[in-house]
Symmetry: C2
């Protein structure tokens, strides 16, 4: 079996050494856009250009080096090629830590103390109990489950929503359009980890935000296109939404003149809530390549209709 590594801006050597060591029966090589075809069966890809598929018509599987495949699905990948995405691969814990940080910053008044430190002012805040911060997690795949579990373990009242019903121990779950209003009505801190699909694009809009509990806060670590940015601003204008912690945006990098940058109620990070971790990613791909060699079912195969 021949496998290509097609991740242009990444140093290939650490990947290839680890992959060759783990799978000596597979011939790994780095994709050379100007070289001859190698007759690859599979490829590890990040934002692959069309040229890859034209050059390697024998490709049957591509492994996307990330969890989100919305950008990939927007390009023309030949229909016969199976797309496999990373599931978790160390990203879930990073997302959970990011969410815990963002939530603590709100619920524990850390921004207030930061402002006070500048004036050498010692002033304990009045404080709010955890019960004042009911959390709703949008998306209950590997990442959403970890986020929900972590915040519940920290004592927060957590619920989760997913497209199709999911069971989580100790966490109330809601599913589909029917339970959407109930979910929103009990949520003050809305955490989005949903993949971007036709169904989730613009999901967090004026109508959604207005159904959250007053003083709501949005934490978006999923995809920027799920949030209607003007609707967030108008809901903050009215005071119903108190603020947001945003890692992803409709346009990235976020343009320097975007109003989000200058709003003190919005906390901005540059798409870093979860990075693809090399060791964990390689381990997951090795496992899948072994399954491929043995003709077994792969994990994380993308359903193109569903969009993830």
């Amino acid at each position: 079996m021949r496998v290509l590594f097609a991740y242009p801006n990444e140093v290939a050597d650490p990947w290839l050494v680890a992959l060759r060591l783990a799978l000596p029966d597979i011939a790994f090589s780095v994709w050379n856009p100007s070289g001859p075809p190698v007759g690859a069966d599979a490829a590890l890809v990040w934002r692959p250009p069309k040229a890859l598929f034209e050059q390697e018509p024998t490709l049957k599987v591509i492994f996307n080096l990330g969890a989100g495949v919305d950008a990939l699905l927007a390009t023309d990948i030949p229909a016969a090629i199976r797309i496999v995405r990373l599931e978790d691969a160390g990203m879930a814990l990073q997302m959970a830590e990011y969410a815990a940080f963002a939530l603590a910053r709100l619920s524990r008044d850390f921004d207030f103390y930061e402002a006070n430190q500048k004036h050498a002012r010692w002033q304990p805040a009045r404080g709010t109990p955890r019960s004042a911060w009911p959390v709703g997690v949008l998306g209950l795949g590997a990442i959403g489950r970890q986020v929900a579990d972590t915040l519940a373990a920290l004592g927060y009242d957590v619920r989760g929503w997913s497209r199709t019903p999911r069971q989580l121990e100790g966490i109330d779950t809601f599913a589909g359009a029917a339970q959407w209003p109930d979910f929103l009505a009990r949520t003050r801190v809305l955490i989005n980890v949903l993949p971007l699909t036709d169904e989730t694009r613009d999901l967090i809009d004026h109508r959604c935000l207005s159904q959250l509990l007053p003083g709501a806060h949005v934490i978006n670590v999923g995809r920027g296109e799920t949030l209607v940015e003007e609707d967030l601003l108008s809901q903050m204008e009215s005071g119903h939404v108190a603020g947001a912690t945003l890692d992803v945006f409709r346009t990235e990098p976020l343009p320097a003149d975007h109003p989000f940058w200058r709003d003190r109620r919005i906390y901005i990070t540059p798409h870093v809530a979860a990075r693809t971790l090399r060791i964990e990613s390689i381990a997951q791909i090795v496992e899948n390549l072994k399954r491929l060699l043995r003709g077994e079912t792969l994990r994380g195969v993308v359903d193109r209709e569903r969009g993830y």
Copy 2:
């Protein structure tokens, strides 16, 4: 049995209603310093003045409304009175959340992103893996165990040190003076939750700090007197210690002219890492009063020799 509520600046009613409802056989009342003695058997106290013990010589037990009893032991409580402290009572989770926030702020470059937001600058940090932030928790009682467990669950490499040996699942533990150097040599982020005793006063000094891994960071949520403040500053001056997150100080409120306020490497909060939570505290005291009524062993009795 007669029990006094002696917590001067607290509204007594919510406490008394809950206590009377839970324990109808006990006569609860608010301590009146200028009233006649009531012949109290026990008292719920916060920083009790000597006058309480002079007025109520029948007191046999006092329940301190906090976990730390160093201030209480520094006053002259008659030797025959048993002192009971709160154990956890919702404080452990708050401490764990505080520690997770402080650690994420370091390891995930949130301070860098906050500075960048002011300049509308989109710049992902290079990032460091969790393995670059080995954590050492000082103190493995109810609070220390929760802090260690929470950070380990977030994927950090965590170890703990305690005066006497303790076992924690999935966490390396060190005990006593013999294992102190080993513990420090593997720790970059030192988190102190120790009670203040003669043994822990000035424990985190020049010598201790110099044995930590380079680029060390101190998180102090225990007691201010455990940290030698000038030694922290001199170790930061040399660059061996990179910074600190401090909730407790030798003098509180921290004086406005203290050098800590103006050092950007030090993150200051005004002794708020864990508040006494009313419901949890009442539940713990109710449980102990039931034991007292039945003549059973109380939980959280302070060993005056040991100091906690």
